[in-house]
Symmetry: C2
Subunit: 320 residues, 2 copies
């Protein structure tokens, strides 16, 4: 009997990743290719189809493809589109599922990367069996996927769970989109750097981080400095965890998740980010939530989360 | 043929309201009785059952009762309980549905008042057919009910949608529960009063409101003053609408509702609260939400929202 598999596709500004995944999250080949280099959108889709067909042909297993899931920034789940992507040269509205269906005869679904991560957590990761949870992806920005009643929340026009844009301080840091105080200016890889630079400005403390330019500084340097006892690095993580912990306590009043899962570059800093986040989340949680909200590392942390998350869309659809 | 009806019960600290309601929201008799006066919890339940049986007997229509919905503060939907209610003399955990099922052989469901209001809006009100919306009840405090994917969000332990407790300023006003900065300290009937007192403290402007004690001041006085051009009253509404509009813009990044519905005493102030709230909500909404979120008065505004909302639980259960 053939093995049912889903195709997972992650469209990034530079690279597109493709993989073949079964219901258990096992990967039957994966690869990547440049997204935009010298091709228009339809040529890109042709290459995408060619790429996963090759993966399937190369596999020694007897695979039956049941569908395709695509993760991409600015994706609209309802319309199957990527709309006005900031990180792609193709402008306007890209009809991804419609165009793919011309080239592929199984169902195709698309959502943004953070939503895909949440569905991945539910299908393959640590949220199996959970009805209510939130995944927070901590990369350059802060992305999120919210699951309630066992279903991802897309909202009225597929723009729910943009928690990186929740305003935590109306007089705070510039956040892009001509706004101030969005959470991701405080909590993300970039947010951590901005916290370092705030502390370098605010305090007189000596720190190895005083030798780095903003552009040269990155998370691993800050973690290494923290491990060596650098006071600014340690305080920057404490501050980042405080902002995140307070935010998670606030989010709890909205959907009361059983757990928050952290994923992405900043989450890999381990105790440096988890410990202060947990401390402040617990401090700010209202009494009736105490011990009823977990903070956990994503089960997708060291896996190919982007491909897995996208492929999970297929299994989630078959479930409902 | 007999007409299917649901019993709606709203348990308040002083009065318990009971009504018989059909799927269209038509009421076939309603009444109220003192909740706690001289009775223990089981005597209260006996009286409740006696009361709705009398209502049914008195009705000239041929009614078939299909279930009962109960709205109450501190209700736990999953366990069918009222837990540690602050406004009732009966302490601990009250097993409402279990005890009612001993006295009544149709399904009984319980939820808190604001959640009941949201389900009422969906079944009888202006949210019919909407999959994603939020009801905000503006009374002494701020209550809320969040519907996503066509279902109310209860969360992991039935404590979702406590948006009155979302912190908007960690150094802000005391909010109860030994916390600072909860939204309801700024947006509610009490919040409006607190905004008046902030402005009376902050400014030198003359105002008729300088003649009222905090305890004597209430919403109608403030509205009347605003209508007569009182600068403090007008500014207090503006400020209240600013806090609410900013909060609604923030909530949109969470679940992207199609509409927010306002209900309760403060919502009855009409343009005084709706206009500034809409202005600031639109100002703070991110560009991709523009014109995709409505601010509307609840369709239950001048009806017996508490009874209707509770009865709607029954129809909502039959739907799923």
């Amino acid at each position: 009997m053939s093995l049912k598999v889903a195709i997972g596709v992650d469209i990034g500004g530079t690279l597109t990743k493709v993989g073949i995944v079964d219901l258990e999250g096992n990967m039957y080949g994966h690869t990547e290719f440049p997204t935009q280099k010298g091709k228009d959108f339809k040529q890109f889709l042709d290459e995408l189809v060619h790429t996963f067909n090759q993966l399937i042909e190369k596999s020694s297993a007897d695979l039956e493809v049941v569908g395709m899931g695509v993760g991409a920034p600015n994706a609209n789940y309802y319309r199957g589109t990527i709309e006005h992507p900031a990180n792609l040269k193709w402008k306007g509205i890209l009809r991804v599922t419609e165009e793919l269906q011309k080239r592929f005869d199984k169902p195709v679904h698309i959502t943004n990367d953070a939503n895909a991560a949440a569905i991945g957590e539910m299908i393959y990761g640590e949220a199996k069996g959970m009805q209510d949870f939130i995944v927070i992806t901590l990369g350059t920005g802060l992305g999120s996927g919210v699951v309630s009643n066992g279903k991802l929340i897309y909202g009225y026009d597929s723009q729910a769970a943009e928690l990186g844009h929740i305003v935590i301080d109306y007089n705070g840091r510039w956040t892009g989109l001509d706004r101030r105080g969005g959470l991701e200016a405080y909590v993300s890889s970039t947010g951590l750097k901005r916290n370092v630079f705030f502390l370098l400005c605010d305090s007189l403390k000596d720190s190895v981080l005083r030798d780095y330019s903003f552009n040269d500084l990155h998370g691993e340097i800050i973690t290494k400095a923290a491990e060596e006892g650098d006071p600014i690095a340690i305080e920057a993580y404490e501050l980042t965890g405080k902002y995140l912990g307070q935010a998670l306590a606030n989010f709890t009043t909205f959907s009361h998740p059983e757990a928050f899962f952290l994923l992405g570059g900043l989450a890999k800093a381990g105790k440096w980010i988890f410990e202060p986040t947990k401390k402040y989340m617990d401090e700010y949680l209202l009494p009736f939530y105490k011990d009823k909200v977990k903070l956990l590392p994503s089960g997708m942390m060291d896996k190919n989360a982007a491909i897995l998350g996208a492929s999970a869309l297929v299994w989630d659809h078959l479930k409902h």
